[in-house]
Symmetry: C2
């Protein structure tokens, strides 16, 4: 089996590739596409832009399944509409059309986002019946791509499933255009014993998932025997900023006093007012989050220690 | 003010153009685009395919508002995925991008469809909070276009509104790829005193609107002073097939016995099991349906008499 991962050099891509390689059977082949070279052994590395037709065709040649992760992140998409239109929307639609032209449908897992729901979210919570009303370009394009994938899956031309992922931690502190970067930044700074001003208050609530749990969920989506519905919201832990700071400090033996709160109302409204999350469809299919806050923090701190020189 | 109507030679386009011309101010200009020449005096007639870039640019040159109606209908879109992709999706997205490049945002009214909700619909009914889960290519592409329009409207680059229209009567009996043609066919045959086998049972329920009421609603959408939300489901009358047959027969002095019922389960599941419809958002903005079944039938029969030679 040949598996293609797009966006393989990104934060989620690297965690997914590590997990795929750990579980690979002897004849499994892995092809990794990104705009910069993904670093992995025993894999075919493709460097290029998915929006380039030649790159797209080379990437899809002979693949049996695809994890489509490549995307311009939320903040960058909002600042650069034209780039999001080209990459997040059009390149994804082109990828699907190329795949749909196959005689044998390929399995495709699409990394979608809770950004499809927009903001503000209903206070009573989000469930599988909540209408998607994106309020940023990133979420709008994710929803459009989800819709295209669901339709091609219904037509039997792709075996597609879109997984709506929450905030993933702990992203590298490279400022890659993510407005929600503070959720990761608090891990980095507390682990390093540095001061940090959180742009949300201690009562702010977020939906979080470790990148390891997200990678596991993507693989679970690829392995589902049937696809009863084309888009799922992944389960996530709902945690407050204050509880998160306390737990990271406890495990990292850091000083919670290093964190101060300097709420940015716009940012908090978008990323810090997340209501209860109910994901019965995904739960019923065996998708799981990190379990509890302690596990999420320990998993995340352990992976920071591995990647920090 | 220059107004462009795409799909101007179609069933809804003709009704809209008639109404626009009746209400036009002296300096208003009307441009009518379709693949066949729209027949109208005092209007600029463009013949061409919206998916042709040169046609698109000529059509949009200098327009202040657009009614975007051009689309491959549901049955044809389902039978011809590639054509729907090109016309219903891509040409619509291209139209929006061209319009969004303007310095002054143009008002755009998009004729969307209740097909965005898919089938089967929840028995308790549809309201403004019902998630859209299209189950045909037509509805999927309409939803994607709605999503793109809402985002560009949010960004202030188009003043867009999408109106989700129900089944419109009475379409000409030209077999233009509409699976829901039976709703119109029953008007034509009863008015002509001909026998007709309805492909749904007498208890089948449909949401109907006369094409005149739909044209009125599109113009109302164009005239809204503000756009509090980018997509609305238009109000519609919910009627049973039996009641519809009885009322047409009464008004046309026809014999209801001319209609027999020969339900097609697949077709009935898709078009004949429509639950209660609640449209508070549109109601609050002054959108209205035909009022009652008697008015819907009299409006529709009157327009058949006008167009029948």
């Amino acid at each position: 089996m040949t598996t293609l991962v797009t966006g393989a050099a990104g934060f989620l891509g690297r965690a997914l590739v590590a997990r795929l390689q750990a579980a690979a059977a002897p004849l499994d082949r892995l092809r990794l596409l990104d705009r910069v070279a993904a670093s992995a052994t025993d894999a075919e590395i493709l460097v290029g832009d998915l929006a380039d037709l030649a790159v797209l065709e080379a990437a899809l040649d002979g693949v049996d399944r695809v994890f489509h992760l490549a995307a311009l992140p939320g903040g960058a998409a909002e600042a650069g509409y034209a780039a999001s239109l080209r990459v997040n929307l059009q390149a994804s639609l082109d990828l699907f059309e190329h795949l749909a032209a196959r005689t044998r449908p390929a399995r495709l897992v699409y990394a979608s986002s809770i950004a499809v729901f927009g903001a503000p979210l209903p206070e009573a919570g989000i469930d599988d019946e909540t209408p998607a009303r994106p309020s940023m370009t990133y979420g709008a394009h994710k929803l459009m791509v989800e819709t295209a994938l669901a339709n091609l899956t219904r037509l039997g031309r792709i075996g597609g499933v879109a997984l709506r992922l929450p905030g993933l931690v702990a992203r590298p502190s490279d400022g890659a255009g993510l407005k929600s970067a503070f959720m990761s930044q608090v891990f980095h700074t507390l682990a390093a014993g540095e001061a940090y001003a959180l742009p949300v208050g201690p009562d702010a609530t977020m939906w979080l998932m470790s990148v390891q749990a997200a990678a596991r969920a993507l693989i679970h989506a690829a392995d589902l025997p049937t696809l009863p519905r084309a888009a799922f919201t992944a389960p996530a832990l709902r945690v407050s900023a204050g509880d998160l700071v306390a737990e990271i400090s406890r495990q990292a033996r850091g000083d919670p006093g290093l964190v101060t709160y300097d709420p940015d109302p716009v940012l908090e409204a978008q990323f810090g007012r997340l209501p209860p999350l109910f994901t019965p469809a995904a739960d019923g299919l065996g998708f799981v989050h990190d379990g509890d806050l302690s596990s999420l923090v320990s998993t995340t701190l352990a992976s920071l220690r591995k990647t920090t020189p």
